[in-house]
Structure formats: structure tokens, C-alpha cells
């Protein structure tokens, strides 16, 4: 049996699952969100969709490179190497400054911190 999601999509899914089961998803994300994330060393990208207290994660099999990100219908995106993701919030901030982290807009950082701060 292969899992539905592994790696970062599974981590994000877990955070959203916890919010949903404890009926906190709508409160934490009152507005609908479509955000794509690409780990540049571990493609493809995936799309997080949150709307009306529900969520979905879609693996975007064809989005494997930075240049593909602008073709996605999304509010924001974040592209970064795994190494920087594992350096946490400070690493990501430094990565934006050094252009190793690419974002469509800074909403991506706000959403990511909300998603990873579940607990």
C-alpha cells in the first residue's frame, strides 16, 4: 500500500488535519487560500487549498522547476531547498534575502508559519 502523501506534503497535511479535527481550521484560515510549495531539490510542487473549514493537498506532477511556478493558479507560492526549510523561520528569512528562497508574495511566509505552528 503506498501512502497518500509523504514528506513535506504529509507534514503540512498533518498540521491541517489537526486544525480540522479540532474545528480550528476556519478560525485560523478564515479566507480561502491556494498556496503552492516547491522543494527545489525534491520536486514536484504541491498545492495547498483551504476553504470554508476544509482543506486539500494536490501534488502538481508537472511543476518541477522554479520557472513552472508562475503557471499555477494560486494566491502565493514558496520555493526553497530542503536544507533551508530545515533551518526554520530564521533560515527562510535569510534565504529570501539571499534569493535562495523564492516567494510570489510574503503571504507565503505568514501561511507557512501558521501551518507549522500547530500544537
Amino acid at each position: 500500500m503506498s501512502p497518500l502523501y509523504e514528506g513535506l506534503p504529509a507534514v503540512i497535511y498533518s498540521g491541517l488535519w489537526v486544525l480540522k479535527i479540532f474545528r480550528k481550521l476556519e478560525k485560523k484560515f478564515p479566507d480561502s487560500i491556494k498556496m503552492a510549495i516547491l522543494l527545489t531539490d525534491s520536486p514536484p510542487a504541491f498545492l495547498i487549498k483551504i476553504e470554508n473549514g476544509e482543506f486539500d493537498i494536490e501534488i502538481l506532477e508537472n511543476i518541477k522547476d522554479l520557472k513552472d511556478l508562475d503557471t499555477i493558479d494560486c494566491d502565493t507560492y514558496l520555493a526553497l531547498p530542503t536544507e533551508i526549510l530545515y533551518k526554520g523561520a530564521a533560515g527562510i528569512r535569510d534565504g529570501i534575502a539571499s534569493k535562495k528562497v523564492h516567494v510570489k508574495n510574503l503571504d507565503a511566509i505568514t501561511i507557512l508559519s501558521k501551518l507549522t505552528g500547530v500544537g
Partner: protein
């Protein structure tokens, strides 16, 4: 029901070998499967409960699920409470972000093992250890070179004291402070086969690795935990399989016991009680637990451990857990659970020294059986 003792008084009384007002209860936590079952049961947290718990900043994090544990409180504490009080629970530190070694093209956790996060077909997440990564000596030496990345940081125990204080003050629940033990840290990284090989052929290399993990991870983490002044520390270190120890007792005594004794001494020196969570059949090392001063042993699946003998032969050690969660709590009826708890208390808890609860993290047991378990501890636990 008006209680004669607080949960803290009750737990400390038992761990000091005295008899409290009633038998206290314990819950290690629960995985995503249990949370899913519980939240889809008649006992689920209501909007009112959630509002109350949010006001007190109670953690919903899995697997420690303090919010669900608080739901078991009596209505005097939480108006929608289940009146099946849990007195003692657990929380472990965040052991830091994964690192990538030059000699291994993948990310590993602090112990040197792999950790997997998956979402199964039915949409339920699952997080668990997935195997050792330090399979060659060069990997282990590479791991040693990353000491600075492996040391715990203040972030590892962020909010620990606050969470503990809050749970105690608002919900009368003692949160024991956990951290992984020396055997798990070692074998999660290098694997059982390497442990056995090095123990036989290069014992000094194995000792060097165990000492490295003590100095880099375990001792600094213990110091940080103890600075938060916990009342109870509980280290997780599984030594047993279902039918015996995972390693010969003489190897456990040579490589693991001396380090475990350091954990116990550090905790006791700071005035904390020390419990160990250790799964499987671990009777062979019970005399050693007594010798190094462990206050209580948790898990103790009844099919794998002669609990009656432990109770009689080792009265110094409080038996924690002992309620079969892999078969009884999963397959039997609430009435069967109730009767079984009654018998357990009669057999093991007559003279104190007993903090019953499911032996491990709750997984896929029906919520009604877990509620029946804690209600029965309350019903039959009066001294």
C-alpha cells in the same frame, strides 16, 4: 466528586511508597488514529470545551493530546468533562530539526535514525521512526562531527514549564517531562545489528558513541528540562520485545545501565521523581531499576510481564500503565474493561505503588473503552 488530594499530591504520595486517597491514573498520549476515533465519538470535545481549553492555552499537539486528556476531568473542572480523571500524562521535547550528513544522502533525526511522516489512504496522518541511518562506522564518525547541530536548544523545551503549570493549576493534571533514553538514542541511530556487532568486536567504539550521545544530546537536554523544575521526569527507552529483552542483560548492564543511572541521579538531585517508559518483557532488569533508584516503571504489558511478582518482589517501584491496550482495550467490551480494571487494582494496587493506564500511546482503541478504563480506575480505586 470532591477529591481529598490534588493529582500532584496523589502521584508524589504513590511514588514515595505511601498510600494516597485513591489510585491515580496515567495516560501516555495518543496517535492520530485515536484522536480521529475520539473526535468522532459521543465523547468528543464540544465547541464549549474547545473554547474553555483555548482560553487556558491547552495543547492539542499529537501524540501528547493534552486537550483530550483534559476532557476526562470532572465537570467541576471542565463543564463538559467526562468525570473519568487522568492524573498523570507526558510531554517530550522537540529534539531539533533534521540534519543531512555528508556520508548519507538523506535527512536524519537527532539519534541518527530516519523518521517518516506519511498520510495513509484513508486520510489519517502517521509519524514514526523508520529505521537506523548510521549503518557504517564512517556514518557514525560523520554524525559525531555534527555535535553542534545535534545539541538541544532552548527552542526544544519552549513553553514546557508553562504547559506543566497550566495543566496542573487549571486541570489538576501532572505532566511528566520526557526525553529519549540512551538505548533508544543509540539503536535508533546505529541499529540493533550494529549494537550487537560493536558490543562484541569493538566495545570501546560503542562506548564512545553512547558517551557522545550522552554528552551532546542527553545530558544537556536533562539539564535544560531540570531547570524548568519538573515534579516528575519520565524517560522513554524501550528495552523489551514481547518475549524478553532486546539485548542480553549483561550488555544492558555494561552499556546502558550506567547512563540510565546518570539520568536518575540528575533528576533526584533536583528533587524530581524519575519514571522510565520501557515496552516489552523487561523483568530481567527490574533488580537493576531498584538498584539505581528508579521510582516507577511505565508500560508493563500484562501478557509480557509478571506484574504480581514485580509488585511483591520490588515494592520500591511503582507500576505505571499495565492495562493491556493492544488486545483488551481494542477488542473487549466496556464492561469487560471495567471488570479487568477492578481485578488489576485488587491485585496490584492494594498497598499503593500503582498508577494504572493504557501501556502505550492510544492508537485504534474505541473511545468508549478508554472512557470505561478511566471511570473504572476512579470507581474501584478508593483506599
Amino acid at each position: 466528586m470532591v477529591e481529598k488530594m490534588t493529582a500532584l499530591e496523589r502521584i508524589l504520595t504513590v511514588l514515595e511508597g505511601k498510600i494516597p486517597d485513591r489510585v491515580p491514573s496515567f495516560c501516555l498520549g495518543g496517535d492520530f488514529d485515536f484522536v480521529e476515533k475520539f473526535m468522532n465519538s459521543p465523547y468528543a470535545l464540544t465547541d464549549e470545551d474547545i473554547q474553555h481549553l483555548d482560553k487556558d492555552n491547552v495543547s492539542y499537539g499529537i501524540p501528547y493530546m493534552h486537550a483530550i486528556i483534559a476532557k476526562f476531568c470532572p465537570p467541576e473542572i471542565l463543564s463538559g468533562g467526562l468525570d473519568a480523571k487522568i492524573d498523570l500524562c507526558w510531554q517530550n521535547p522537540n529534539m531539533g530539526l533534521p540534519i543531512k550528513l555528508e556520508s548519507i544522502n538523506d535527512y536524519i533525526i537527532h539519534s541518527g535514525g530516519y523518521f517518516k511522516i506519511v498520510v495513509r489512504d484513508e486520510g489519517i496522518p502517521h509519524w514514526w521512526y523508520a529505521g537506523p541511518a548510521l549503518l557504517k562506522k564512517e556514518n557514525i564518525e560523520d554524525y559525531w562531527s555534527r555535535a553542534n547541530d545535534l545539541r538541544p536548544t532552548k527552542e526544544s523545551i519552549r513553553n514546557f514549564a508553562k504547559i506543566r503549570k497550566n495543566m496542573l493549576k487549571k486541570y489538576d493534571i501532572v505532566v511528566s517531562q520526557g526525553q529519549p533514553g540512551p538505548f533508544e538514542n543509540c539503536v535508533f541511530g546505529i541499529g540493533h545489528a550494529n549494537f550487537a556487532r560493536f558490543a562484541r568486536k569493538e566495545p570501546s567504539f560503542l562506548e564512545q558513541h553512547i558517551e557522545f550521545q550522552w554528552e551532546t544530546i542527553e545530558e544537556p537536554m536533562m539539564k535544560m528540562i531540570l531547570k524548568t523544575k519538573p515534579e516528575v521526569v519520565m524517560c522513554g527507552d524501550d528495552y523489551g520485545y514481547n518475549d524478553g529483552l532486546q539485548l542480553p542483560p549483561k550488555l544492558w548492564r555494561r552499556f546502558i545501565k550506567p547512563i540510565l543511572a546518570r539520568y536518575v541521579k540528575m533528576a533526584h538531585d533536583e528533587g524530581a521523581k524519575f519514571l522510565i517508559h520501557s515496552c516489552g518483557a523487561i523483568g530481567e532488569v527490574f533488580p537493576d531499576f531498584v538498584e539505581i533508584g528508579i521510582d516507577g516503571v511505565e508500560s508493563l504489558k500484562p501478557k509480557n510481564n509478571d506484574l504480581k511478582m514485580y509488585r511483591e518482589k520490588y515494592p520500591e517501584i511503582t507500576l505505571v500503565g499495565t492495562i493491556d491496550d493492544s488486545e483488551m482495550l481494542k477488542y473487549e467490551s466496556p464492561e469487560f474493561v471495567r471488570n479487568s480494571i477492578k481485578k488489576s487494582i485488587q491485585t496490584l494496587g492494594k498497598k499503593g505503588g500503582f498508577i494504572p493506564g493504557p501501556t502505550n500511546f492510544l492508537l485504534d482503541q474505541p473511545a468508549e473503552n478508554i472512557v470505561a478504563c478511566y471511570k473504572a480506575i476512579q470507581e474501584f480505586g478508593n483506599y
